[in-house]
């Protein structure tokens, strides 16, 4: 190998890792790397904010399963990444962040734009590195990619002092073997213990009221085929978490859609009354369980997860299985093929009961409203895209409506910040997803509050001609906070009114994007149709929706499913709850 600059070694490793796009924004400490990027054979997207770059890399990764790459300079550039890294970390998204650092001999002197970036990002990354010697540079970068994409995926940050990017070194590209040898303690467990899998199969055969509770781990493992097979062969209804959307096709007769705080009545009822809960790549988040000791109170629990630390963390599990969701499901299916579930009356009536709940309590809203209902906009987005679009969301009510009223068919179709709940995520994530999947329609369903939190990056989407669509469900409120104030703080609307806001149509136009607006239900379809016909620029659609619409049903935080608040017009909640069997 010829002698190379540290910065060129960085580019070499990115090529070796088959990176086709990096997102970022340069500055002093990372200039050498940007100089090397000038001739790099992959796309280099200049964003208008490092946080947006991080969310774009995240959206890119979630849409493909590939590692997203983001770059930033030292100090403020790197600290701007923190929220994005934490977002990716909470949702197990594979990212590699490369940050410039002040030169080695300045570290610790409070030099210009110095920050202890490995210190700051330690709790929000899967792992991080500070490169202190150019000899280690290539190996560390390859370790970063390896750690990011294997096991339970996550973000990895590599902090590179400027002098190291400038030094010249006669290096050899490290092999996968070198990487594995450098990480002797890192051995993700993929296979799943066969004795445990047999125990799980036995519980499935014995169960009368089983249910599959599927999370983001099943999306990451792309285990849809296996899930459908398992659900069908043992006739087990499937509910997914917010992160698990698309892991199981939502138009399938066994689909119960989302559970938890804003879960469907039938999903929550089924979980509540189940006698066997099969958790697949899900982690018993408090937004799912509500009051933990009343969560599926009668159910035995099987928990399949790649991360041992997710198992028995918040809830005791009867049969833990550590492994890759796809591999474990394959083995479980084999076991159930060897000795199938015997169909009996109890299981038949369980399915019938759930079907009854589905018919009696579908998701609903006022379809005759003269004001645009946000749920209606989402349904029309579903219709016009024939359920095939990739949808991203910000955080708030609009995120929940995007989850509830669009039926997701395939993994990686719904992209949102589930774990951290990061406002400002939706739009840049959509840009990243569209760059990764130009073949797909990508629509960000945004809140008027959330969208403003990364509005500057419309410029990026315009510059690179990324034809993403944004649908703002504009309620002129921090709507989700307003909803909680209405329900739990006696309607004291403290600091939630956003009626002072830009004209989103003009704002879009000023960036060189297209702006459209609908203020009446009759205009919704027209606006959507027009937006779908534009394919060379971003389109921002402003939907003036009912300002005080609430997301329902709702299980208030920390409460039992029994205390679920239903949509007005539905029967009182507790009365309809009963235990079967």
């Amino acid at each position: 190998m010829p002698k190379k600059r540290g910065a060129d070694i960085v580019v070499d490793v990115l090529i070796e890792e088959k990176v086709d796009t990096v997102f970022g924004l340069p500055g002093g400490a990372i200039m050498e790397v940007y100089d090397a990027l000038f001739n790099a054979p992959f796309k280099n997207i200049l964003t208008r904010h490092e946080l947006a770059a991080c969310h774009m890399a995240d959206g890119y990764a979630r849409a493909t399963g590939k590692v997203g790459v983001v770059m930033a300079t030292s100090g403020p550039g790197a600290t701007n990444l923190v929220t994005g890294l934490a977002t990716a970390h909470m949702d197990s998204v594979p990212l590699v962040a490369i940050t410039g650092q002040v030169p080695t001999h300045y570290i610790g002197t409070d030099a210009f734009q110095e920050a202890d970036v490995t210190g700051i990002t330690r709790p929000v990354t899967k792992h991080n590195f500070l490169v202190t010697d150019i000899k280690d540079l290539a190996l560390i970068l390859r370790e970063a990619f390896y750690i990011a994409r294997t096991g339970r995926p996550g973000p990895v940050l590599v902090d590179i002092p400027k002098d190291i990017t400038q030094q010249v070194y006669d290096y050899k590209m490290p092999t996968l073997k070198d990487v594995e040898e450098a990480l002797p303690g890192y051995k993700p467990h993929y296979e799943g213990n066969i004795a445990q899998i047999k125990k799980a199969a036995k519980l499935i055969r014995q169960a009368k009221r089983p249910i599959l509770y599927v999370g983001g781990g099943a999306v990451a493992a792309e285990a849809q085929e296996e899930l459908v097979k398992l659900a069908e062969m043992a006739k087990i209804p499937v509910t997914t978490t917010l992160m698990g959307k698309g892991a199981f096709p939502e138009d399938h007769p066994l689909a119960l859609h989302m559970l938890g705080m804003h879960g469907t009545y039938y999903a929550n009822m089924a979980v509540y009354n189940s006698d066997l809960l099969i958790a697949v790549g899900s982690r018993f988040d408090d937004r799912v369980t509500g009051k933990i000791d009343e969560f599926a109170p009668e159910a035995k629990i099987i928990h399949i997860d790649i991360d041992p630390a997710s198992i028995s963390k918040t809830i005791h599990v009867d049969v833990p299985i550590v492994g890759d969701v796809k591999k474990v499901l394959q083995k479980l299916i084999k076991e159930l093929e060897r000795k199938p579930v015997e169909w009996d009356e109890a299981r038949e009536s369980w399915i019938k009961l759930i079907e009854k709940w589905k018919i009696e309590h579908p998701l609903t809203y006022d379809r005759k409203s003269k004001i645009i209902k946000p749920e209606y906009v989402v349904e029309e987005i579903y219709n016009i895209t024939k359920g095939e679009a990739i949808i991203t969301a910000g955080v708030g009510q609009h995120q929940m409506w995007a989850a509830m009223f669009y039926k997701y068919k395939f993994p990686r179709q719904f992209i949102n910040s589930g774990g951290l709940g990061t406002m400002g995520f939706g739009f840049p994530a959509a840009v990243g997803a569209k760059i990764a999947r130009p073949d797909k329609e990508v629509i960000a369903i945004e809140g008027d509050g959330s969208f403003l939190m990364n509005i500057q990056d419309i410029a990026t989407a315009v510059q690179y001609r990324v034809p993403v669509k944004v649908a703002i469900l504009n309620n002129e409120f921090l709507g989700m906070v307003r909803q909680w104030q209405e329900l739990f703080y006696d309607s004291r609307y403290s600091s939630v009114c956003l009626s002072t806001q830009p004209d989103f149509v003009k704002l879009a136009e000023s960036f060189g994007a297209v702006g459209l607006r609908a203020t009446k239900p009759s205009e919704v379809k027209k606006v959507l149709k027009e937006a779908m016909s534009i394919n060379d620029r971003p389109v921002i659609m402003d939907f003036a929706v009912d300002r005080e619409e609430n997301v329902l049903p709702m299980v208030p935080a920390g409460k039992s499913y029994r205390e679920m608040i239903l949509h007005p017009g539905e029967k009182g909640e507790a009365e309809t709850m009963y235990l079967v069997g």
Partner: protein, 184 residues
């Protein structure tokens, strides 16, 4: 139906008891590994009683002994979170494995009164400790042993007046006769 709701079941959790656990950890001794471990404890709200780190005979491998108070669930989580760290090589709860614990303490005792000196020396001998520094009004005592022994010694000399107590925290190793069963 109301009645059925009243007779609701509550999810049964296994019984747990809080007690002292000794956790032995082997890690790659890289820069920052210690702050990863202490950060993990601080960030997740686990209370460490003591934590010691030191080199082993193998290059670039450090041995950490952590003493925590917690119930089985908390300790299981701690162990899993420690294992999750990329640089961790091995983690074991050795509480219930025959093992040896040692701690070192340096204790400065007020000895201005000469009658006190004799009593302190008597205790030092009984506990097989050592006086390692003497000044007109202070004895500095070095003592090693398990935590109970050191606690007992400190309690006995406390009435004379303590100027300073410095403890290393617990080091623990599994007894060699158990080695084939437990690797750490």
């Amino acid at each position: 139906m109301r009645e059925e709701i009243k007779s609701l079941k509550i999810r049964q959790m296994p019984e747990t008891t809080v007690r002292r656990h000794v956790i032995a950890v082997r890690v790659q001794h890289n820069v920052g590994v210690l702050s990863r471990i202490t950060g993990l404890f601080a960030g997740r709200g686990y209370n460490i009683e003591s934590l010691t780190v030191g080199q082993t005979h193998e290059p670039n491998i450090a041995r950490i002994t952590i003493v925590v108070n917690g119930d089985e669930r908390v300790v299981e989580q701690i162990i899993k979170q420690l294992r999750k760290l990329i640089e961790t090589l091995k983690v074991r709860d050795i509480t219930d494995v025959p093992h040896i614990e040692r701690e070192l303490a340096l204790i400065k005792i007020h000895t201005a009164d000469s009658s006190v000196r004799d009593e302190v020396m008597r205790l030092v001998n009984i506990f097989r400790a050592k006086v390692i520094d003497v000044s007109p009004d202070t004895y500095t005592v070095e003592i090693t042993g398990d935590q109970d022994k050191i606690n007992a010694f400190i309690d006995l000399v406390r009435p004379f007046g303590l100027k300073d107590v410095s403890r290393t925290g617990v080091l623990a190793v599994v007894r060699e006769s158990q080695k084939d069963k437990v690797e750490i």
